[in-house]
């Protein structure tokens, strides 16, 4: 039913530009994404969602919906057999709303019918009697005594308190700012989709696009009241993720409908529903103050970060952790006081998105570093170089950075890259802000250059048991050694399937490596997030290959009557110490397969002290720098990004082309947040749930990107790898914002930067907090 497997044979070991095994299927249209799934006799499921950000449900009448011809089921909260609750860290979100709805778009009822349009029409005939309640839609009011309570336990999700050094520091130079970051959408192109198939054992098989099969399985089991052996998940083709698939979407709903109707159920959101169907990047309100010596050497930092978590917890607590623990950037601060808060509101729930808390904070700390540079009269590169951490330094949580931290070198690298030529006297319209809109011929256009350097934790932090499981089998098939790699790790487009093949080829010396579909028949691989899979699942595949190799060589030693030391495995041959062929793999294994399953963990991390935020919270840090060059029409406020160049340390590039591809894509997403991407929410209502009104960078918006890849191996990580995916999304946006500020001379304390902010026709200052309850 699913074809996500390779048709073409590919090659390549660690460090090679191996091609994707699924590339051919993806260019011919044969690759089966979750929304492509189809089953004989299947019906379609749709979701009825709340139109209100906060309301009490007095009554739901499904009678009329059930009379629509073609409808096979209509379900509400009463039909959830297990616990009506799910959530990544806390099960605080109803599968279907019970007494209350807490955000616009919250699922209230489900319909299954033989045609999606029939199901939608029937959903429109469900009568829900709502008592609309006052909504808390301004995060800055969330902790006030008189604020409406989103959940019984109060509106605070997490307060991270970080204190280090002098509690009352002073400095000769003090700079400060307020900064606001809008809500960004992951905007993966493949909508939330899945197919649930009822099974003969009374359980269900769910094929779904996700980032972590096992955390989904746990939540689905809870809601269905079933043990894990009855709820089997298989990864369907994933059309992008970027954090937006960490939380459940169609999962439980499709299973509920399948179990009720006894038929396979397909659910697939349209784009508008997708905007309501997954969490977004937290909007942030931040106040920062840096104190420094007159030469710009940092003395202290104070920061207050407020993240709007929306109606349910999702991963807000962990995002707060990042925004606090990493929220001052990769700089040395002798004294620090940071308070980061995540709060509940009746806005759409927010959670994971690429960069995870570091993105928001980076806009503030990088804008303030530029302020400091101006205040002490040095250039933006120099102020960062002077204060950047180095290997052996301590972070603001007191953790020693025990591998490369090339902040100064990354900055120097981007600064040394060639700059784009200045605009000619009579520029091509397509090179100007406004382009073929013909809004300018160059008059009023000013060029600006901006820099940024940031860092990100790799893997799960603060004591989380972060592991992955890999099962590797080696056998001789048709005279050829074939390795089979089985993990539950989600390939979401980043190229993990390619990396798994490269590792197995390298470790076992085989050419043919089959990566079988990810499913819950093997142990958890952890999440495809936090830039962690090449490190952690890569580490597990490496370890499982090593175990297989050891087992094969032990059998060879027995068969050959030689000591195992000195034997080596190279594909279908067993070699002696001098590289001579001692036996064929087929001679050693015959028809047997050698299979090993390994659970692999990175070094443990630790919870931070609740009073001071001090501790070894992270396993690894990844650094990147950007330089952006922009042309700004200061009269109209239109921006053209001319260049977006970057340098990043990746430890070891397992697949250099794929690494560069990650850096390109991550940079574009950061640029999008700086200039155009915002889910506009007013009074708890999303105003732009479409690709018409939520603007994404097109090929006309994204400039050429020069990429410098550094490879300073992390001695603690497999092959020395360092997480790649998130860093570029963190450093690119602040560089773009800095370049626009440099061009127009305005402070621009909010992103995305809108034309009216550049022209000054609307103030850039953060608006006073709303008095609306």
């Amino acid at each position: 039913m699913t074809t996500t497997q390779a048709a073409a044979r590919t090659t390549g070991r660690i460090g090679d530009n191996a091609q994707r095994p699924d590339g051919t299927l993806k260019v011919t249209g044969e690759f089966a994404y979750a929304s492509d799934l189809w089953h004989d006799d299947m019906v379609w499921g749709v979701t009825l969602r709340s139109p209100h950000p906060h309301a009490r449900i007095r009554r739901i009448d499904v009678t009329e919906a059930l009379t629509v011809p073609g409808v096979s089921a209509v379900l509400t909260a009463d039909d959830v057999p297990g616990e009506n609750a799910f959530g990544l860290e806390h099960a605080d979100q109803p599968v279907l709303a019970g007494e209350f709805v807490r955000y616009e778009g919250e699922p209230v009822a489900l319909v299954a019918a033989d045609h999606p349009e029939t199901a939608r029409r029937a959903a429109g005939r469900i009568r829900v009697d709502y008592e609309v309640l006052p909504a808390l839609t301004d995060a800055r009011r969330a902790l006030d005594d008189d604020a409406p309570q989103v959940h019984p336990g109060g509106n605070l999700v997490r307060h991270l308190r970080l204190r280090r050094g002098d509690p009352a520091p002073t400095a000769p130079v003090v700079v400060s700012l307020d900064f606001e970051v809008g809500m960004q959408d992951q905007a993966f192109l493949g909508p939330e989709s899945g197919l649930a198939v009822p099974a003969e054992d009374g359980g269900v098989d769910l094929y779904v696009a996700t980032q972590w099969l096992h955390v989904d399985q746990r939540q689905v089991c809870l809601a269905l009241g079933m043990p894990p052996e009855k709820v089997r998940l298989t990864l369907a083709g994933v059309g992008g993720a970027f954090g937006g698939r960490e939380d459940l979407s169609v999962h439980v709903h499709a299973c509920l409908l399948a179990l009720r109707t006894g038929r396979p159920v397909k659910m697939s959101y349209g784009r508008e529903e997708s905007f309501y169907g997954h969490v977004h990047r937290h909007p942030a309100t931040m106040t920062y103050e840096f104190g420094a010596e007159r030469d710009g050497t940092l003395v202290y930092a104070r920061a207050h970060v407020l993240l709007d978590g929306g109606a349910y917890a999702s991963s807000t607590a962990a995002v707060v952790g990042n925004a606090g623990l990493l929220g001052l950037g990769p700089y040395r601060f002798p004294s620090v006081a940071v308070d980061a808060f995540g709060v509940f509101t009746h806005n759409p729930p927010c959670g994971a998105m690429r960069g995870f808390g570091c993105v928001q904070a980076a806009f503030a700390h990088e804008a303030l570093m530029d302020e400091l540079a101006a205040a002490v009269g040095v250039d933006p590169v120099e102020i960062r170089r002077r204060n950047g951490v180095q290997e052996g330094d301590r972070t603001i949580t007191g953790q020693v950075i025990d591998s490369a931290a090339p902040v100064a070198e990354l900055l120097q690298r981007v600064a040394d890259l060639p700059l784009p030529p200045p605009l000619p006297g009579h520029p091509d319209l397509r090179d100007l802000p406004g382009a073929v809109g013909n809004t300018t011929h160059g008059e009023g256009v000013r060029r600006g250059v901006g820099y940024s350097v940031t860092y990100k934790n790799v893997g799960f932090s603060e004591g989380f048991d972060d592991y992955s499981t890999a099962r590797v089998r080696l056998q001789v098939t048709g005279g050829e050694a074939v390795a089979t790699v089985h993990t539950a790790a989600a390939e979401v487009g980043q190229g993990l399937v390619t990396v798994q093949q490269q590792i197995a080829r390298t470790e076992l010396g085989v050419e043919r490596v089959v990566v079988v579909p990810a499913d819950t028949a093997v142990g958890s691989a952890g999440s495809t997030s936090a830039s962690r899979q090449t490190y952690v699942t890569g580490g597990a595949v490496k370890a499982a290959c090593e175990a297989v190799r050891t087992a094969v060589l032990q059998r060879a030693a027995v068969a050959l009557g030689r000591p195992v030391a000195g034997l080596a495995l190279d594909g279908d041959k067993v070699l002696g110490a001098g590289g001579e062929v001692l036996a064929g793999l087929a001679d050693v294994l015959g028809d047997d397969a050698v299979e090993e399953t390994v659970e692999w963990r990175h070094r443990p991390t630790h919870a931070v002290d609740p009073e001071t935020g001090q501790g070894d919270a992270h396993v690894q840090f990844a650094f990147s720098a950007h330089r952006a060059v922009v042309d700004v029409d200061v009269e109209l406020g239109l921006v053209k990004v001319v260049a977006l160049d970057t340098a990043q340390d990746v430890g070891k590039a397992i697949n250099p082309d794929a690494v560069v591809g990650q850096i390109h894509g991550g940079s574009a997403q950061g640029m999008g947040l700086a200039l155009m991407e915002e889910v506009v929410v007013t009074d708890g209502h999303v105003r732009n749930p479409s690709f018409t009104d939520y603007l994404l960078p097109t090929i006309l918006d994204v400039p050429p990107m020069q990429v410098q890849v550094l490879e300073y191996a992390d001695p603690h990580a497999p092959y020395g790898v360092r997480g790649v995916g998130e860093p570029p999304t963190i450093s690119s946006g602040p560089a773009v914002a800095a370049a626009v500020r440099a061009a127009c001379g305005k402070p621009l304390r909010r992103v995305p930067i809108r034309p009216e902010h550049v022209t000054g026709t609307q103030p850039t200052a953060i608006p006073p907090r709303s008095d609306r309850p």
Binding site: S35, A187, L189
Partner: protein, 156 residues
């Protein structure tokens, strides 16, 4: 409603088509051709791009009934048997494919561009592909792929 249309050179018929269905739905759900993708279904992202009588269109914006008696070519119809079209080949080789959800639409749009303009400049490539959103690649390797495909085609 009965819809009869020629898809990738073969006459196909679907019965009981609801008049509100799009060509995209017809292809994906009734004719077993899910190559054209359902990313936005409002004509903004280009991932459902197919040829209709030789013109590239967003299949989500064409009613299924509008395809009656016409010729549709989808991404599934570009390769010659097992041999990928040079544009498809170039997308794989250049690393222009990550999640790949935008890829079918981009492949068709690039195929159309190179049929009209065999050696496009970068601004021409950007303009031609401006209706195709990609969220993974930042477009750099997509530009590489189109340049590579143009060189390959010129060499043939």
């Amino acid at each position: 409603m009965r819809v009869t249309t020629t898809v990738n050179g073969t006459e196909r018929t679907a019965d009981d088509v609801w008049p509100g269905e799009s060509l995209l739905h017809l292809l994906r759900e009734r004719l077993g051709l899910p190559g054209a993708k359902n990313a936005c279904e409002q004509g903004e992202c280009g991932s459902c791009t197919v040829y209709l009588d030789g013109e590239p269109v967003c299949a989500c914006l064409v009613a299924a009934g509008q395809a009656i008696g016409r010729k549709v070519t989808t991404v599934e119809g570009l390769a010659a048997g097992q041999a990928l079209h040079p544009v498809q080949e170039a997308f794989v080789e250049a690393g222009a494919v990550q999640c790949g959800f935008c890829t079918p639409g981009l492949v068709v749009a690039a195929h159309d561009l190179l049929a009209r303009v065999p050696e496009p400049s970068d601004p021409e490539i950007r303009e031609a592909l401006a209706g195709n959103l990609c969220r993974c690649t930042g477009y750099e390797k997509i530009l590489d792929a189109v340049r590579l495909a143009a060189r390959r085609q010129a060499a043939r």
